[in-house]
C-alpha cells in the first residue's frame, strides 16, 4: 500500500509523514528525505526550474520502486510525493518517507527509493540560468548510487 503522488502543489512534510504512523503502534522508525531546489548547479546560477514528467508511467514507476523496497526490507509503509511544474530555489521537489519497526530498514529503504527514483522514474528538469533555459543532464553519480543496491 505505497502512497505515491505527483502534483504541482507543495506538501506539508510533517503532515505527510504523520500518515505513515497514524493509528499504528508497531512503527518504531520513520526515515525521510526531502529534495530541495538549489540556486546553483554545475557552475551556473539557477533562478528556477520546470519539472516535466510522463503521466501514468511516473506513478507506475514510483509504485514499483516502493514495492521493490518493501520486498527487500521490513517496512510498514512507504510514501513518495514528487512535484512537477515550475519551482524556485528553496522549493521542495520530492518527499520520500519510510516507516518500519526498525531504523536500519527505514534508512536503507528510504535511500534506496530516492536512488532508484533518480535513475528510473520519468522526471526531467529544465533549469533557468543567466544563459537561458537548459535541460539538466543525468549524473553518472546517480547511476553509481543506484548500482550499490544491486
Amino acid at each position: 500500500m505505497p502512497s505515491v503522488r505527483v502534483q504541482e502543489a507543495d506538501f506539508d512534510t510533517g503532515k505527510e509523514l504523520e500518515t505513515l504512523t497514524h493509528g499504528r503502534r508497531d512503527v518504531g522508525a520513520v526515515a525521510s528525505f526531502v529534495g530541495i531546489v538549489r540556486d546553483a548547479n554545475d557552475g551556473a546560477r539557477v533562478s528556477g526550474m520546470t519539472l516535466e514528467h510522463y503521466p501514468g508511467m511516473t506513478e507506475k514507476a514510483l509504485e514499483g520502486i516502493c514495492a521493490e523496497a518493501s520486498s527487500r526490507w521490513d517496512l510498514t509503509d512507504t510514501l513518495v510525493i514528487h512535484r512537477v511544474g515550475p519551482l524556485r530555489p528553496g522549493d521542495r521537489i520530492v518527499l520520500v518517507g519510510v516507516a518500519s519497526p526498525h531504523r536500519g530498514d527505514a534508512f536503507a529503504a528510504c535511500e534506496f527509493i530516492i536512488d532508484y527514483l533518480k535513475t528510473r522514474a520519468p522526471f526531467w528538469k529544465r533549469e533557468d540560468t543567466p544563459e537561458g533555459p537548459r535541460w539538466v543532464e543525468a549524473r553518472p553519480s546517480d547511476d553509481t548510487a543506484a548500482k550499490k543496491w544491486k
Binding site: G35, K60, A61, V94, P122, W124, W135, E137
Partner: protein, 84 residues
C-alpha cells in the same frame, strides 16, 4: 497504429510531443520504429543517431531496442531521467 510520445529535450528538438504511427510490416520491435523515425531525416536522424543517449518505454515500462511492439501500444522516447 501505435502512439508515440516524446518528452523533455527530445520533445523540444523534434518539435513533437505525440503522434500516431503505422507499424512497419512483420514482427515489429522498438528497433523497427526507431528505423522508421530515423528515415525522416534532419533532426530525426540526429536525435536517434547511434551513440546518442535516449531511453524508451513501451506501455509505460522501461524497454530496449529488441522489445516487441504491437498495434495499440504506447511507445515513449525520452532522455535519461533527472528527477528527485
Amino acid at each position: 497504429m501505435v502512439t508515440i510520445l516524446y518528452f523533455a529535450s527530445l520533445r523540444e528538438s523534434l518539435g513533437n510531443s505525440r503522434e500516431q504511427l503505422a507499424l512497419p510490416m512483420g514482427n515489429a520491435t522498438v528497433s523497427s520504429v526507431v528505423e522508421a523515425l530515423r528515415a525522416r531525416g534532419t533532426q530525426w536522424t540526429e536525435a536517434f543517431a547511434p551513440g546518442r543517449t535516449w531511453r524508451v518505454a513501451v506501455n509505460q515500462q522501461m524497454a530496449g531496442l529488441a522489445t516487441p511492439v504491437s498495434p495499440g501500444d504506447e511507445i515513449a522516447f525520452f532522455p535519461p531521467v533527472t528527477g528527485g
